[in-house]
Amino acid sequence: MMYLILPLASLAVTVFLHFLSGFLMNAAVMRFAGCVAIVGAALVAICYQYFGFTPGSISVIISFFALAELYLFAFTLCMASVSVNILIRIADGQAHLPTLDLKYNSDQMVKLRILRLEEAGLIRSDGNTLALEDKSLRVLSGSRTLRKLFGHT
């Protein structure tokens, strides 16, 4: 039974730490990665200490990381999905297609993405023009490799 409780309890601790860390900084994904690393390391130590190197302890660790990935997927989907954004705006009272078109402006969406890329240090701007930072070249190269790998044209 302990084996089954451990991954769930570890996820609960991670989610709680993630919530608390929100008072300190904004970057939700980075915060979550930090919390998963801390709780994951503790879980590995506990599993090794109490159960040794067994399939059970490995399964506990795999289950925890899979649950953490699922949670990360859920909240990044809520943060960045276009569909989610539209649903929220409709719930906020923009229940008219023309109003939705006006408020949910694709220009605004692009501006927000550009702002986020600037905040992430991937691009820089002198107000009028945009340029890539060095680290964005690595990101871009990674994205192109993935596109090639998955066969996206």
Partner: protein
Amino acid sequence: MPTDRNCCPSRDSPMQETMIDHLPDWIILIVSATWCLVHGTLCLTLRPTREAAIFGAHAASFLLFSLTAAIWTALTSSQFITMIGAVSLHGAYSLSFLELWSLSQGSYSFSILDMIDRCKTPKRIDVVREMAVIGQQKKDGRINALAGNGLIAIVGPDVTLTLKGKLAVAAIRSMYRLAHVRDPG
């Protein structure tokens, strides 16, 4: 040697745990890793380009493997947690694969970076104009998809949330609070 399937003997236990004791557990974990490896290689070789095809390939594989793992656990002395671990491994693999696939296919941010790289210090206004076209296409497609999934109802110019939509919004807002997301979207 009797084994309790949900009990885990400590290393201090008089029962010496050997690889042989846990053979069915090791087998299902190794099969899980191999299954993912073969599936991933097949996906990267066949390269399905449609979203439904790649999702279907992963969903079918996940269901088939879960069934295999359940039958293995029922027929052998393998522990329940090992089945959970093996299925989780497949789940983590599929989720990672699909996320990367989707990210590389149509990420807004990558498209913006790509455009800046192609045009070399483009004007902000030009990037906004070009990317807004993609944004408009995304939005139109999504509104129709939301209506198709029964989350919103469109009557003339009015859009309303259905019960399913209201439940979805409540879940999303709970997630914002839980993850402490300040500026979603």
